[in-house]
Symmetry: D3
């Protein structure tokens, strides 16, 4: 009986959070890395389904860089990166789209549905969701690497209203209908802005943002926009963390209330972020 | 962190129950007794609010015999019972209605609202919810003791659709608009039938139904309709338990799937009943 | 036949008023006094049902000071008034709520329903309708006497849309969920403002407002806001008339078009006010 | 004041009828004759508007034989009748349609609108309302005299839902889109059946149905279907009364509850029929 | 097969126009003249039905001056015109309304319905669509010639939403409910403005607007507002073309995007205007 | 002008077909082969968009066997077929899903969107659309080759209602959420049945069904169910044509009105099938 009572108390402890996020949209960016172990993928799917059942409206955006590289290797194709961007010829784009939309997306959809959710996986080409154009960079021709021109969120709202969980792969559509590879972090930020999400959570493979470097680095559970700017200048924030941070900033500017960078490798980090006071990871706040 | 993980696991353990009862109506009869301590009342209100937020549609029916007797005493009026029924003259009826509709009902509404729910308290006279007529008993004139002629559930559905939690006091309306005192157990059973509830839970001040009597009695977590019939014959089930059992049987007959008699004195017994495998109390099953 | 024709003519005479008030909300404050005779109560209920059937949307707010005092007497509790306000300890508040919500409210609901309406009686604690806080007066502690912080009118609109007649008892809810006694006149004014009523009618036990005092007093069928201000200064308007007048002024300021103070003791004064050119009582106009 | 009270009493006397017909459809056939004096037309328009405002849904079907004959005379065209039916060549049909749809219909619409209703006049050609075909009679070619094949009532329901009062002229549409002259009595019966009206009222220029003939004739306020059959055999019911009676019978058979033949020359006979116990005219009942 | 392919190509050629006008309202004014041959009337009806089926929302306004004059002649009544306006006594108004609303309107409705559309013919008196007042001209009393005071477009929107094609005859309603004759060109412009049409097309009996006069005149496929002003000054635009041009200008000012004056005598000129690049006739543009 | 008139006539010739299919659902199965040339793919996309704009509701199901084999080759994996079914291990299933859902599906979506449609590509795993289980064949273990257990068409209806064109890849979901390869012909038949399509059109790489074999074979534009049965017995219908024919039969049995097997290699064969009398290919009829 004592055990039961304890259970009841846990439920009542999370009630304030359930109330707070009731009927709110939460955009969750899932990077390629946290999904690598099957167990972690199960956990994430469970967390999403639970969120949905207690009245939250999750919208998933996923990446998949690592898996793209894997398939390219298998096909004997070499990935060329210039300044961190993959040069994407037509064949590479086909591989990219197959991996993102045909494998990672459906894998997630299958897991969520298996745990009792009703997920629908789409890409940015569906319903003109992500209008894209070729990125403009001096000198280098990156091929089918795109930047977002416009988000048309009708399909997302329509799926949410019908009780579905949208799972979005970051492929954009050019004017000619062609596919463009879009940075998943940036896509999640723009989508969160366009659908007026309450929260944007980035599931990554690191704990969050640290102050300083090396031995002296200290974990930050909260960071302001100002500090971010200074950290970028000092190159404390750099590499793969840069687009994540930028997506958070742009979401905050467009009215998203809270943005978080958390560690997807911690089991159920999503639930902990939503349903506990402390949360996990770093929150970037609008100051 | 371990503690957090434990919390996540508790949430995921209840997920199957949340799924099962999603969007379902659960009628909860709250007797006068379990509500006597302020702490228990708080627990019940919390449980109801939690149920609501995770997608269940609770409908509350309450009693209040004890509190009626109290006010009558204070007013120097003696309660006369014949065969377990209170003889109810006009003045007694006024007192009854004031206590049920004006005190106990609003007390519950206040508690639920305080915990973040949106309760609306009505009586069976509102919106013609409970059409009643004077009970017909040979010889004795019980005055304003009524039996249910018809339930008009429109107001309940309308409140549920708008996201409110209906809290119903068991006063019926006669043809002339007058108030009639209705047995709260019977009312909860009829209401559960009329609104096609999935479940009827009776919060009482006993653990449930026992087999045998005195020293030899043994608690039953499940009982069939057949056994009930036999127990009634043997007078194992009698007194205040009779209308509860009858309400359950009538609800089962009208399509309610599950009916339970549980102990409201156990903290959070409502949550335990809904969200654990074992449940608490006795389930009366349709066999 | 002549008689029939006369009947037809009466109907056609009221047609312009039916047109004018079609689909409009009219808030009717019913004081404790006009309801004292059973016949008058019947008349008021009939008038409300007729209004409803010809397309007007009546919303009732009632008082009940006299009946509260009566029950307190019966319970051997003395009413203490300071500056016209009843000092309201917890026990007094319980009595107040039982009388207002459990007796007067349901009495009205029963009568309206008996005459073919579909009334639903609620109090300000239901659906968080009247958020209240303890009045702040220097020195005196009035206990559970409250002032209105906010009206949440969702429940009223929802009842109206479903074809119900809301009947509201003036009990507010504090932050802790507790009941507070609210002045019914003030409540009717605030509710009329919040639901954008076209008209506020106060059924009282006097004919309306008079100019002057004693022998020289002269009845006014119309009075401006300016005149009101001057009458209050001169103490021509005082006592129980003050909150009525103030409720009217506040309603006018919030967009209610017309406010009336009429004599509930005149049979069918409600109908006469609505359906005749002359009306009865005093209209306070927005000048 | 006494006068006012009397007025209130009249209103309350009609309340039971308002309740009874609330939200019900009443089809009113207006013959050409009762409309001849301007005063009577005004009365009928007023009655219809009043009915609408107290919650009844009137649907008007009108005739106009006399006015057609008038215009034909003016145009120097002779009306030829064979067995009571007007032989209708193309030119006669044009005249018929102009008079019915372009004059009488709009005249009624203008009057109703002037009294505050929102009438919309249509003919049976609009929205395919009345599908017709040429009547089949041995030997005689009646030209554009049609019989009803099917009623498509969508447009009527759509107008009613939007709060409009449909006013229908009895012109049907053949397969080729051409106009056919339809008997207005028959049309009103078929339309009442198709839209599941509660009541069909035929405004004529006679008091109703009489038993016997000449000096011995006796007015009947109620008549059964059986009696009708016998009266038709005996030729007590004949001529212009025949289609009226047949329309009533067919409406009764299709579920219309009550059918009446009343005298449109009595001022406000419509209101009297609806709002008084006795009614005026003859009711044909379903026995 | 080649022929089939050609057919497919024609369909695909018009696809861009179908897309462009999808779900848009197009107001089409049909003058009395283009409708004179039965073949042309058939073509216009076909074109309207096709437009409707490919997703455009046509709203028809028609004239009928010639046909009015014809009936007046037949009735031995002389038409008196002063400054281009017909002096309209009560009898003339009756004739006007019968011809417009009872003949031309229903003729169009019958044709459209015959070709598979669902037309509903109304006049400006229905549903208070066109509120009119007597035109004010010094000295001359034109009788029932009216000018538009207000358009109440509810009925049009309601018909469109239900999938009907509104066909409107230009008769307005005065304050007293009486009919007033309204210039059909002006009516079409005001209606297009009130219902926020995308396009206003005037089907006339001339090709469009010419520059210059006599031998030197040159057809203009586009004309600006400025040029119009200058042409009116020079009396190049005059007579019956004036109200057409003015209706276009007023529609442009109220937000209608495109206005056209085209020749209804060219078979299927409506379709050509909508579905070809070149169009036919003159477009008046908003410059 | 003559050319324009011709264009108008083509449009009017297709009007009857547009009417006939208005608001109807047409399921189109697109095989892997007809899509091989870029020009043909463009034509199909154009045809689908045109169908949509003239009021038809197209639902696309596609195959892709050839493209799967291609990618397997590139990855150095050999396709093993037993009795015409590809043995599908986990890796093969991943490749299959990537090709179908991530390449062919999105290719189609991109083309349709480029031509102005709003396509949304989903697979049978999305929203639990196609519930599948492993096929049961004696002896052989085909791995992830599935058969359909149930179609849950909610997502299709929801997309159609919002104006989207669903494009479905034939991957089913097992109980564990895993992907199963489903025969696209069978899937299109089951989906057409589940969503009550009016028509099922199979775009293949052959002209249709022939009578007889070799030199003696004769093309059939219509074939009955009986003849089909006999042809299957005689092995005239066999191989890849078998599942197509079976899908048609099953669709006919479930209420689909018309089923067609047509040659996708003929330019615009879809349009021709829908918009011409003769049609192309073979119709299987319900006899």
């Amino acid at each position: 009986m004592k055990d039961y009572l304890h259970k009841a108390n846990v439920l009542l402890e999370v009630l304030p959070y359930i109330k707070q996020f009731h009927n709110c949209i939460v955009v969750i960016k899932i990077g390629g890395e946290p999904m690598i172990t099957d167990e972690l993928k199960e956990f994430i799917a469970q967390d999403i389904v639970l969120m949905k059942y207690v009245g939250i409206k999750p919208v998933i955006v996923h990446g998949g860089g690592k898996q793209i590289t894997d398939l390219m290797h298998k096909l004997g194709k070499k990935s060329v990166f210039i300044d961190g961007l993959r040069v994407t010829d037509k064949e590479t784009m086909d591989i990219t789209e197959m991996v993102l939309t045909g494998m990672i997306n459906k894998d997630l959809v299958g897991l969520i549905n298996h745990h009792g959710g009703k997920a629908v996986g789409i890409s940015g080409r569906d319903a003109h969701l992500i209008e894209a154009s070729k990125i403009k960079v001096k000198k280098t021709d990156y091929g089918f690497v795109g930047e977002i021109k416009k988000i048309n969120p009708t399909i997302i709202h329509s799926l949410i209203e019908q009780g579905f969980i949208p799972v979005i792969s970051p492929v954009g559509m050019g004017e000619d209908g062609d596919a463009y590879n879009i940075n998943a972090d940036i896509a999640s930020g723009e989508i969160a802005s366009a659908i007026k999400a309450l929260k944007l959570i980035m599931l990554t493979d690191v704990r969050g943002i640290y102050k300083g470097k090396g031995d002296k680095k200290k974990f930050l559970s909260t960071i302001t926009k100002k500090e971010i700017a200074s950290f970028i200048k000092q190159k404390i924030i750099q590499g793969g963390m840069l687009p994540k941070v930028k997506a958070c900033l742009s979401a905050l500017q467009s009215g998203v209330s809270k943005t978080h960078i958390i560690d997807g490798k911690i089991p159920h980090s999503l639930l902990l972020e939503i349903f506990t006071e402390a949360g996990v990871g770093t929150e970037i706040i609008n100051k």
